[in-house]
């Protein structure tokens, strides 16, 4: 399928906006529940950055679509099958180690992506990426340090962290999956082919896993479907909570 640049921009921005929004929401679920106060503040700070990125991407998506949908309309009035986030980020928090491993796998990808998008000839994409890059560099330092601390920690923390890595690994393939939108933008030189991020991502993950004394799982069968709107059941519950207020009071404004 070939699509025009505006449609591709819409699809691409939606993928990044939805992925940021869903992960930001997942992290916000830790507010008041993290294992220590500083970490409670850190996770919610990162959530705030991610929701900020989501606002920028969804605004850009709305402009590219040209149907008058703004960031709020896109965030709050779409159901599961219209969401284009990676399946990785909708996975439930489970324990702290699981949350941190999920975060690291995502952060290591987002740093590579934003470094490349920051030099995109599309000013809208480059502007968001340059802004986000400064923030995700802090995120990946933070999540990588925790992976190392937990992996190279006690027997229990190591076992939980390894378990999280094994469970989440089959969700990592989707980050490098092309779709019609990314292919059109890659062909136009506006965004990288998602597959091009894999080598740098894998190298960073391997380094951190080694320092954490964790075993990097073998690449096998990978979950896919998020880019087509085929999600796990978890996303529906997340959206039900996130969208409750604007669904119940559709015209409410601050």
């Amino acid at each position: 399928m070939t699509i025009d640049t505006q449609q591709a921009l819409f699809g691409f921005a939606l993928r990044l906006g939805d992925t940021s929004l869903v992960l930001g929401h997942r992290l916000s679920e830790w507010c008041g529940h993290a294992p220590e106060l500083e970490e409670d503040i850190a996770l919610t700070n990162i959530a705030l950055d991610l929701v900020g990125h989501a606002r920028l991407w969804l605004s850009l998506a709305g402009e590219a679509e040209g149907q008058g949908r703004d960031e709020d309309r896109l965030a709050y009035r779409r159901d599961v099958f219209d969401y284009r986030n990676h399946l990785l980020v909708e996975q439930p928090n489970r324990d702290f180690g699981h949350t941190i491993v999920r975060q690291f796998l995502h952060d290591a990808w987002s740093v590579e992506l934003y470094e490349r998008l920051a030099t995109s000839p599309d000013a809208g994409i480059a502007g968001i990426a340059a802004k986000a890059l400064k923030e995700v560099r802090y995120h990946v330092q933070h999540s990588a340090e925790w992976v190392i601390r937990l992996g190279d920690g006690t027997a229990i923390s190591r076992a939980k962290t390894q378990d999280a890595l094994d469970r989440l690994w089959p969700y990592t393939g989707e980050m490098f999956e092309a779709d019609a939108a990314s292919s059109a933008l890659a062909a136009a030189g506006i965004a990288p082919d998602p597959a091009d991020l894999r080598a740098a991502w894998a190298a960073r993950v391997a380094d951190v896993a080694a320092e954490a004394t964790l075993t990097r799982p073998a690449d096998g069968w990978m979950h896919k479907g998020g880019l087509r709107g085929e999600h796990s059941e978890h996303l529906g519950y997340l959206l039900a909570e996130m969208q409750f207020l604007p669904r119940a009071y559709p015209d409410a404004v601050w």
Binding site: G24, E38, E39, I41, A42, N45, I46, A47, L48, D49, L50, V51, G52, H53, R55, L56, A118, T119, A123, A126, G127, I128, A130, K131, A132, L133, K134, E135, R137, Y138, Q141, H142
Partner: protein, 190 residues
Amino acid sequence: MAHAEQAGGANAGCWGPEPGADPRVLTAWAALAGVMDPEIPVLSVVDLGIVRSVVRDDDGGGDGGGDGRLAVTVTVTPTYSGCPATGVIVLEVETALARAGLDATVRVVIAPPWTTDWISETGRAKLAEVGIVPPPAAGKRALTAPQEAIACPLCGSTDTAQISRFGSTACKALHRCNACLEPFDVFKCH
């Protein structure tokens, strides 16, 4: 890494009116110097370097007409993408300029991205006065090089440690002094 340098480098100070600026623009900058950041209320939005530009609008056009107020457009930039203070800042800028007799249109732009290099010297001094360690002034080295020893703002000891990279607001990290045992905020290099 080239993009990390684009906003730093030779740009040593904050933004401000150009020499010989229009009186209306000067009035606006003076009013903006009184608008405090809601989360770090010792810093004005000008000290923080988030006011990018002020330009005079045509009196006949825009939404400035009718009530005799003079129109300007103020361009501001958020510190962090998700900074919850941005909406409040826009409102406070509009209010302060209205008090100065100006009708402001406030634009929010994200590119080029804000950097702590845009915090003014006055701003750095004000941060230090209230016990918040100002960010390193020279470029982006702190993001890539090992952190230099940070002196405790209370007792001056350099025997300090980072407790958390993420502090009470998005732009600050939390540190602790091993000498006097007090925690303190550090403005992150960004």
